[in-house]
Amino acid sequence: MKKIRAFLRSMTFGMLLLAAVIGFSFAGSMIPQQRPAMEYVSRYGATVGGLIIRLGLDDVFATPVFLLLMAALALNLTLCSVVRVRRLRGSGERLKERARAAQVIAAPGQAQRLDAFLRRRGFCAQAGEGVTVYSKCLFGAYGSFLTHLGLLAVLLAGALALYGGQITDQTVMPGQTLTLPDGTAIEVLSFRIEDETGRLDYASGLRMTDAQGQRSAEALVRVNEPMRFGRYKVYQQTYGTAGTMRLRNAATGGEDTVYLTEPAFLTADGQNGVFFAALYPGYIQDEDGSVTLITSTSGAYADPVYDLRVMAQGQTTPVLAFPGEELTLGDITYIPGEPVSYPGLRIKAIAPGMLGVLYASFVLLIAALTICFFMRPVCVAVRPEGYAIASPKPQLGLQLELEALIREEEQR
């Protein structure tokens, strides 16, 4: 049992786990992730594609083995941190003792010069019997422990933030309201693709209201600028362009407008009506009168064209219609309108404070690494016959500087 515990907290185990994470990450980056099964078969062939799916390499970061690996890494970091924290008590004094006991590098009669140099470098002196110990950055001994603790905190808080939140994607037409299961309402007041200067700037004007009727101020949600309200964060995720169709019923005098984001059959009796196939941003008319439709949807819809099928008395007639044109079938008149751009919103529900904890772990890790690398604890014991350096980290720079100092004096 003792041996197992020692292995679980050992650096060897940690290195093995890190190597395994590299292996998984390599596979996860080289094999496209979370695609339909058929894509793997067509890309890699039936045998390899099938193997990829069976081994879970199509979603490698969600496989139980990978999650187990991360859990093992967290365990290794925890045990390693426990061992380190035990060793930290009295580490400064132990380092001083190590310096006192170390074999000195000969520098007879240089104590005063060394004293001046070390004090200039911010070392604190502690005089003893026949030896003065200069120390610096003893707090740096905590660097490695804090780094491991920071990494552990990032792993745990990161997992909570990643798997603890709920994410849903929704498209909402401007002027419409989306109601979430807990009664919170998101009202889309406006949406634009370009700002006043014509620069791309996907922005939705939103207002939110919670179940108790508490309203947020109106906010402009952009890429990189989500809106926060209660436990929700709303992101500008994507956008689309929908066709609009006004339907007028001559018999009842009623009128309605529908948004067309995908093919749809607009009918009153289930048999006769207009089938919406597609909306095109524009067209090019040749000299002979033939029309070529523009299919690229990346730009503005300058001359929108509706691709429709009119279905009446069992006959289907393809029709290209422009905004404002009227198509009448019986009592119903179909009037295509100007296309409308709409936002695709991402709504994330996350416990308050979760991200704060995650970001605090980030700060801890960066601070710990700074301490670890740039506040290296070091002690120099100076005796009348020479000096000795003790540090848990490489100190070649200081060593060479002291050697140069002594050499300089000898050459005088």
Binding site: V223, N224, Y235, L355, Y359, F362, F373, P392, P394, L400
Partner: protein
């Protein structure tokens, strides 16, 4: 005219590299001083170019592969000169000038036109994330350069315990410490930015994944160095292998693995 300044800087880096390599091979101190002067002149022109481009673009000139590569080369030159000024050792230049020139040459093959920045890149995190990335990569590239220098000297019969070799080995380690810290800043600032832009702080995007792979490899390097007391040849080899990873994260991922960072 602006692009001429870029190519003039590239030419000066090239001249500095030739002069430095020849001088180092022949052991001429004067030549190394000339290489340092050429590198400084190249860096001055490079800085003028970057500021000029930044003013013309109305943003930090680090938004696409060309600009990032140019910034990466600039950071190598800056770090190389700072290190040289502190240590007064010519091998620092031998390691850093070729690295700056090679990265700058890569930049020269990228499309150079100034384009409007896409909405996803308009963020307050942009400067910290990309700024720390160029200095991180630069520090790691210099460490790799020092590793290569170490191996070349070793193959030519230089003793591992000579002061210059020990110093080159140690500086490689210190550069990796700096690069590793900055790489951590890159990854974590990128995570905060990703949460703001895409709602998830981590999405296993190829760029993120390769940044993590690179980070782990350097973490292994540091553990082997600090806990197992590995030094010299093994560390030089590992720093070179890790540099391959850095370069793949920088350029290979963009070319071969499409993802959320495809615009970079």
């Amino acid at each position: 005219m602006r692009d001429m300044v870029f190519f003039a800087a590239l030419l000066l880096y090239f001249a500095a590299m030739i002069v430095q390599i020849v001088s180092a091979a022949l052991g001429r101190q004067k030549g190394c001083r000339a290489a340092c002067a050429l590198l400084s002149a190249g860096l001055a022109l490079h800085t003028v170019y970057s500021v000029w481009r930044g003013i013309a673009a109305g943003r930090l000139p680090l938004a696409n592969q060309f600009e990032f590569a140019s910034g990466f080369a600039w950071a190598i030159a800056v770090l190389g000169l700072i290190l040289h000024a502190r240590l007064r050792q010519t091998w620092v230049l031998t390691a850093s000038i070729p690295a700056a020139f090679l990265v700058m040459s890569y930049a020269a093959f990228q499309p150079m036109e100034i384009r409007d920045i896409m909405p996803a890149l308009r963020s307050t995190w942009f400067a910290l994330h990309i700024g720390s990335a160029i200095f991180s990569y630069a520090a790691l590239a210099i460490a790799g350069g020092l590793g290569a220098y170490y191996l070349v000297r070793l193959s030519r019969g230089e003793r591992e315990d000579s002061t210059a070799m020990r110093q080159a080995d140690y500086m490689g380690y210190r550069m990796i410490c700096l690069g590793f810290l900055l790489l951590t800043v890159v990854i974590l600032s990128g995570a905060i930015w990703a949460e703001q832009a895409w709602s998830k702080w981590w999405s296993w995007d190829p760029k993120e994944t390769w940044a993590l792979i690179t980070w782990i490899i350097y973490a292994i390097y540091l553990h082997q160095r600090l806990r197992m007391n590995w030094q010299g040849r093994r560390m030089a080899l590992l720093s070179l292998a890790a540099l391959v990873c850095v370069l793949f994260t920088f350029a290979g991922v963009n070319l071969l693995l499409p993802g959320l960072h495809s615009y970079a």
